[in-house]
Amino acid sequence: MSYMNSVPRAWRERVTKYRLIGGRCKSCGKVFYPYRSFCPRCGSSDVEKIELPKRGKIKYFTVVRSAPAEFKKYEPYIVALVELENGAVVPAQITDAEPEELREGMPVEGVLRRYREQGEDGIIEYGIKFRPVVGEE
């Protein structure tokens, strides 16, 4: 798909996506992902750029059974809102688990994984997925 086939587009996101760079609003306290100059809750510009923790819990998850074209070959797969230890919420896939093994509130940890490819000959886009933390139930 033409809209995805861009090397610089993936390249410029590498630090934010590989390290989970977010923001903390010094005005209202909201912690968020990804980083941006203004707080999404209160609009303040008093935002500190921070690296987010890689551990958290599943807030809500669902199973994608009818996927967008670039993810079609992976269906069914699990996507979730993951709440990190400092309260930031990240949209991400859950990996290394079957849907029936998961529940909301389950502890998870981030791992670097493949998300999507820019066509057969294009680059591969990576990012953080989350997997259940073994033995921390």
Binding site: Y33, P34, T62, V63
Partner: protein, 388 residues
């Protein structure tokens, strides 16, 4: 400033229009609206076309000029307006502000979407563009998946049951039977809804609005211009508002309220000088059953967490507290995304004009249409009032 009136409405049936192109649908709806108004096309001074995905699904942008060209009125002001599934409502809002301000006397708001040109997975790709491509679509979310999380959050927070929420789909189908423009003119049972395949847990296929093709249009004029043209306007645009919320769910503190609805509705009620208790009929943007329930609350018809009770207790039927989606809603009338906002306005006007046939609510004076883009990143609210 004088009143803005609805001079005419027009719409194509919603369905799989294999023989019709994007431009065919636009032209058909525009001509029907002009015919309904009883005016010539040269009265149109400006066109606002609501559309979400023509660039992706047809490889066609610049459809304002395209429509002016194929309608044979090149020279008018025209442009596309995009706000995902709220494109139609946003186009109407642009037309309303254009006429209300006095810049134009007569404007055409039109919504169009041609979804069946592409296979399902490409439509799914197009729809998730309503959210954040770089972070949400990147992670593989489908648009249904986002709404599945809203569904789960709602059931968890309020203890509501899926069999009550899913009744919204049954309601929509029951009324679509009597709407000649509806995509699915047949009733479904709750059992059929809940036993249909899962699309994104817990959302079943029959809880989702279908994909389809369609275009709908509304011709609006200043009251003065309408009278100058010899028309007798019957419906006034009492309010048209637009509001936003943060684009994505992961930025929200509460997934169960669409703040953009609350904001747009508050502005609209103030503009029209009414409250929710004055609304006789409503068209809600129920792209998924859970949204219909949430919208009833966010528009002020039910307390938070209790919208499903209105559905279960028959309060959204004719004769109930707030008759809703009486022409089939998004679920059964259909949801050609960029056109939906105009179909909702068409359906509200159909009721106020007394043209709704077996779905008619007798004496309906005030109707509200709510059109949602993305998971509530944008909401348009329109209030129409019968002129006495």
């Amino acid at each position: 400033m004088g009143k803005v009136v609805l001079a005419g409405i027009g719409a194509t049936p919603i369905g799989e229009h294999w023989e019709k192109s994007l431009r065919d649908l636009m032209v058909e709806a525009a001509l029907k609206a002009l015919e309904d108004a009883g005016v010539e096309k040269n009265v149109v001074e400006a066109i606002f076309v609501g559309n979400m995905s023509s660039g992706y699904l047809q490889g066609q942008e610049h459809i304002g000029s395209l429509l002016a060209t194929w309608l044979g009125i090149p020279g008018v002001a025209a442009c596309k307006v995009e706000a995902a599934c709220a494109s139609g409502g946003a186009a109407f809002h642009n037309a309303f502000t254009a006429v209300k301000s006095g810049v134009y006397d007569c404007a055409l708001a039109l919504g169009v979407e041609k979804m069946t040109d592409a296979p399902t997975e490409y439509v799914t790709s197009a729809l998730i563009m309503a959210d954040d491509q770089e972070y949400t679509a990147f992670a593989g979310f489908s648009f249904v998946a986002l709404n599945a999380l809203v569904y789960k959050a709602y059931m968890e927070k309020y203890g509501a049951r899926q069999e009550d929420i899913a009744l919204f789909a049954v309601h929509d189908h029951e009324h679509a039977v009597h709407n000649p423009l509806a995509q699915y003119r047949r009733a479904v049972t709750l059992d059929a809804v809940l036993s249909s395949p899962l699309v994104a847990d817990p959302i079943h296929l029959l809880e989702c609005a279908p994909t389809g093709d369609g275009a709908a249009a509304a011709l609006i004029c200043s009251e003065e211009k309408a009278r100058e043209l010899g028309l007798t306007p019957e419906v006034e645009v009492a309010a048209s508002t637009l509001a936003t919320d943060v684009l994505s769910l992961h930025d929200r503190d509460d997934l169960t309220t669409l703040q953009a609805t609350v904001r747009a509705a508050k502005k609209a009620y103030r503009m029209a000088g009414i409250g929710p208790e004055d609304v006789d009929i409503v068209e809600l943007h129920d792209a998924f059953t859970i949204l219909g329930v949430i919208h009833l609350e966010d528009l002020g018809f039910a307390k938070k967490g209790e919208g499903w009770k209105l559905v279960k207790e028959g309060e959204i039927e004719p004769g109930g507290k707030i008759p809703a989606n009486l022409m089939g809603g998004l679920k059964a009338r259909g949801h050609p995304v960029g056109a939906t906002g105009l179909y909702e306005i068409y359906d509200v006007a159909t009721q106020l004009l007394g043209r709704a046939g077996k779905n008619q609510v007798e004496g309906a004076e005030i109707g509200l249409a709510q059109n949602v883009g993305g998971v509530g990143g944008t909401v348009a609210v329109t209030i129409l009032r019968r002129m006495r």
